[in-house]
Each structure stands twice: as C-alpha cells, then as structure tokens.
Symmetry: C2
Subunit: 98 residues, 2 copies
Amino acid sequence: MAALDLFGRRWNLRIVWELQHGPIGFRALQERCDNMSSSVLRQRLTELVDAALVEQHPDSTYALTELGHGVHRALRPLGRWAAEWAETLSAADSEDAR
Amino acid sequence: MAALDLFGRRWNLRIVWELQHGPIGFRALQERCDNMSSSVLRQRLTELVDAALVEQHPDSTYALTELGHGVHRALRPLGRWAAEWAETLSAADSEDAR
DNA sequence: CCAAGTGCTTCGGAAATCGAAGCACAGGGA
DNA sequence: TCCCTGTGCTTCGATTTCCGAAGCACTTGG
C-alpha cells in the first residue's frame, strides 16, 4: 500500500520511468519530465533516494539503484498497457466522430 | 506518457487497485482508500469513468471495465515488487538498528 | 576575467487535496 | 405514518502541494 502511495505522488512514476536510460543530470532529467518544477524535482529525488530507488553518483548524476531497476521492470507491463490504451482511445475517438 | 500522468494523480492507482475485488459502493470504496476525501474520490471516479477504466452500474456501484482489468493486470508486477520492497526496507531497518 | 552550464534553493501565487458538514433519497422497523 | 440508518454525492473553507521564475554557488572552457 505504501508503494501505491509513493507512486501515487505526482512525477514519481515518471521520474523512475525516465531514469531507465542510465545516469542523467538534474537539469537534463528536468527537461525529460516536461520541464517540471525544479523545486519539486529536488523534493521527489530526495524521496526516491530515501526509498533507495535512486542513487546520486559522486559526479551528482542520478540513476536507478538495483531496487529501482526492479520497479522499472515491474512497470514495463504498465507501459505496454498504456500503448494499447492509446490505441483504444484513438479508435473510440474516430468512432465518436462518425 | 499520458498514462503516467493519469496514474501520477493521487489515489488513481489506489482506486484501480482496490476495485480488483469486484463492484463496490461509493462509501465502501472510500473506506478502503484510507477514508480519502469524498470530494476527491468523486472527482477521481469521474476521471476514471471518462478514461473508460471504471463503470458505474445501475445500482450506482463501481467496477473495473474490461480496460480497467487490463490496468490491474499490468499493475500486478508492481504489487509483487512492492512486497519484496517492503522486505528489503524492513531488513535495512533492522540493519540500521544494529 | 568572463561567459555559459551545472546542481540546487527560495518564495509568492496557483492549484490540488482534505475533511467536516450536510442534502436528497431509499429501505426498514415501530 | 414517522423515525432511524445508510447510501451516493455536493459544498466550502482550510491546508497542503505544486508551479515557475529568479537567483546563488560552483565548475569548465575560452
């Protein structure tokens, strides 16, 4: 349940998702997340670091921990579902347009 | 991405998760979600109904649609991960306590 | 020395969330 | 018939969270 609460906070899911491509810097990560507010990004990052999902490397770049990669793996089905969901929605739209 | 945004809204993940056990009424659902605010629950439910993940039956009870069940299936790996995450954290705690 | 890029902080306003109260309605007794 | 209880749902003021622009300290390269 705590997990659903953690990921139910805005941006947390997205951040983990964007970190899949390896270490990335603060500002670059911010860009990837639709230029989310830097203040919130900082907050979310410390939360994720506390949760041991993300670690900050000595060159102050961020990456998923082993645990974090587990999340990402667990998230992939959701990603796949999102794709077919997008199809369903666009199909429904063209349905409505008729 | 839109999916990560939808589920990045508070309670949406939790609601879908709690709806797995079949149809349930408004107040009962609210109880299951740590007595979340009824105003927000209403808002979330209309959002989820709009997204075609949840449907409201004639007796005004709520349940997952076919699409919604897809989400839940896609969410199960995350549930399994959450379990082992809890173990890791409690293990780390007793580690710290030493 | 300067310009540009970085990680990160501060802060005022906007938006989301909460929570308690209450409305309208539907049974189910007495 | 009149309560009493439980339901789905709404309203609204207070609190929390989020946003976004500005800027600070620091590093790198010219």
